[in-house]
């Protein structure tokens, strides 16, 4: 089993005919993901990669193909519209890759999603992958992953790839790897994903990769303390970042005491997480925690 996606996921790609959309949709299909539809307004009726039907609207795509997961490659200025269109059509999981979505657009989107059956992952995220079911819904390199029992949840993209490649090199496969995104407002947070991993019988341990900014890691620590029943290994990026400066990600800025890496590490350590001291030791710390747990 895995969380959020599995072999039965029926994926549609919004913006499938664009440069990034077509490149990554093809990589997802090569990996084994079941891409059933594409959507590009005005390009309905054509075929993507000679096999995948392209529709003019998400509503049509869902009606014709039963798609239940949408992967968005829509540029940031148009992301709000695309996310709302997917939610309105009843897509269960909406994965927004775009970086640079205006924060108030995300605020309006989150408000619209309340009380509906749709979950948003991102914006500004690499997506998610479940190696065991060969389901890749995102832009991560598929080849670095292997099937296994470690869950990964992260605010970062390439740092997650780094962590995953350390795990794979040590023979530690992954159940599901979820990139929740580097924006200040995001649809799915650490606690949401941890709760799913907690209920997933095929996940034995979770790696949590956070970074400076906000207090989501502290909320995760609180949840871990109260309700999480599996070992946790955590790494927080940005211990050397100066306060008040935005470090690339819109959400990575130290404002206030909770936002610093040290405060986050302290909260996670207090909650019982194995806090990784150096980004070079993520895999080694997991190996150690796994051997201690068994």
């Amino acid at each position: 089993m895995s969380i959020l996606v599995n072999g039965d996921s029926r994926i549609l790609v919004q913006g499938v005919t664009g440069r990034e959309g077509s490149f990554h949709a093809a990589r997802c299909m090569e990996y084994g993901a079941n891409v059933v539809a594409g959507v590009t307004p005005g390009r309905g009726g054509s075929l993507f990669n000679d096999t995948v039907p392209v529709f003019n609207s998400v509503e049509q795509a869902v009606g014709e193909t039963g798609a239940n997961v949408s992967l968005l490659f829509v540029p940031a200025p148009f992301a709000q519209d695309a996310m709302l269109e997917a939610a309105e059509a009843g897509v269960e999981l909406i994965v927004c890759i775009a970086e640079g979505v205006p924060v108030l657009d995300t605020a309006r989107t989150l408000r619209y999603l309340e009380g509906r059956g749709s979950r948003l992952l991102g914006p500004n995220c690499p997506g998610l992958i479940s190696p065991g079911s060969r389901c890749k819904v995102g832009i991560m390199p598929g080849a670095i992953h292997m099937s296994g029992r470690v869950g990964v949840v992260s605010r970062s993209g390439t740092l997650t790839y780094e962590a995953v490649s350390q795990l794979t090199a040590l023979g530690l496969g992954q159940s599901t790897c979820v990139g929740i995104g580097g924006d200040p407002l995001i649809g799915t947070n650490f606690v949401d994903v941890l709760a799913m991993f907690n209920d997933d019988p095929e996940t034995d341990l979770v790696v949590l990769i956070g970074e400076i900014g906000g207090s989501m890691e502290q909320e995760a620590a609180q949840y871990i303390k109260e309700s999480f029943g599996k070992p946790i290994v955590s790494f927080i990026a940005g211990a050397t970042a100066p306060p008040g400066k935005r470090m690339g990600h819109a959400g990575a800025i130290i404002t206030g005491a909770d936002a610093a890496a040290e405060a986050k590490n302290r909260a996670l350590r207090d909650a019982g997480a194995a806090v990784v001291p150096s980004p070079a030791l993520i895999g080694a710390t997991v190996a150690e925690a796994m051997s201690g747990a068994s």
Partner: protein, 367 residues
């Protein structure tokens, strides 16, 4: 707002002060808060004093807690009538990460940084979240106003100010509108003595008129150069230049450098869709920083190919890079080809495959 005008020269400051009746508050105009404590704001009692204070600030750099050690250049001053005040309040609207929408923050203990209020008098802070579906409501404004201890006409005036700044916040896609302090003046009215707004870079495409108002001199030249190239760059204090793809990995790389007993010269995320030219510009930016004594390249390629990174580095290094040793760690597509390009170039280059190796080899780099 109190009456006042902007001065670009000491003589202008003197004239404005005289026009205001001989007493004024002179405030440095920079892209940062914390000016009062840094000596960038002064109450002057004569036009002559306004002129002297202006001369001491203009053309120099002001270092505040928010500018970093290099400070921000002072090109303009605001000269305004001193407010006759009783009680300073704080009022702001910002984006709240926890609730996922706009949030008003207010306190009757204004006049200092809000972080300081949060640390010393947290009970005085009022939070009022806004539902973006319906917007900020009058009853919420009255609740915040009452929380500030306001009544009658002042409560009405405060509610109008809150409604206005919420409208401004939403219409201009801001991430912060802050009035600090908001004061009750001698005649019982409310006066916004100082204010600050934060624009959202990601929303500037909707507001070209705001984008055009930017003053590039308020930012470091290398940061301006990087932003033009679509590179995310922040100058730091150390000597190891870091070129990385992805913000999280870039921060982790800085942490790794520090863990190895060196200090990073910069944060630099070259982005996922970089090409040879962009990598070259990133390297050029680092080579233009005199504090950079070595360069560490850490690329985890999915989309970004290692051979392209290698060609970009070579293009920038040319002769300029002589004497700046290079350490390269690349993972992903075409790694061997990338290594061969650099190894055959005659540059002083060391290779690493894993972060553990990077950490080890960092210790050999010059301080």
């Amino acid at each position: 707002m109190p009456p006042g005008r902007v001065a670009a020269t000491p003589a202008e400051a003197e004239v404005i002060c005289r026009d205001l009746g001989g007493r004024a508050v002179v405030k440095a105009q920079v892209y940062a808060g914390g000016r009062g404590k840094a000596g960038g704001v002064k109450l002057v009692d004569s036009p002559q004093e306004a002129r002297e204070f202006a001369a001491s600030l203009l053309g120099g750099r002001l270092v505040t807690v928010q500018t970093g050690p290099e400070g921000a250049p002072v090109r303009r001053l605001l000269v305004e009538e001193p407010a006759d005040v009783s009680g300073e309040m704080y009022l702001a609207v910002t984006v709240d990460r926890a609730s996922g929408g706009p949030m008003f923050i207010a306190s009757a203990s204004g006049g200092v940084e809000i972080e300081e209020v949060a640390a010393t008098r947290p009970e005085s802070i009022i939070n009022e979240g806004v539902d973006v579906a319906v917007g900020f409501q009058p009853f919420q404004a009255r609740r915040v106003g009452r929380g500030l201890g306001l009544e009658g006409k002042q409560l009405g005036a405060a509610a109008r100010i809150m409604t206005s700044i919420y409208t401004l916040f939403m219409e201009k896609d801001l991430t912060l509108v802050e009035i600090n302090p908001l004061v009750v003046s001698g005649d019982g009215g409310l006066v916004a003595v100082d204010a600050k707004i934060d624009l959202e870079d990601d929303a500037l495409f909707r507001h070209p008129e705001l984008a055009a108002m930017g003053d590039p001199e308020q930012e470091s030249p290398l940061e301006v150069e990087a932003s033009k190239a679509g590179i995310s760059y922040v100058k730091l204090g150390g000597s190891v230049g870091c070129l990385v793809n992805g913000a999280g990995l870039a921060m982790a790389t800085m942490d790794l450098v520090q863990g190895a007993g060196r200090l990073p010269a910069n944060f630099l995320d070259v982005g996922g869709s970089a090409d040879e030219g962009k990598v070259a510009r990133a390297v050029n930016i680092m080579l233009a920083d005199p504090s950079v004594k070595s360069i560490l390249v850490n690329i985890f390629g999915g989309i970004l190919r290692s051979d392209i990174v290698a060609r970009g580095i070579l293009a920038a290094y040319g002769e300029k890079g002589a004497g700046v040793p290079l350490m390269v760690r690349m993972q992903g597509t075409n790694v061997e080809e990338g290594r061969e390009i650099l190894a055959g170039s005659g540059l002083d280059v060391a290779f690493a495959s894993t972060l553990l190796e990077v950490e080890e080899k960092l210790k050999a780099l010059p301080r």
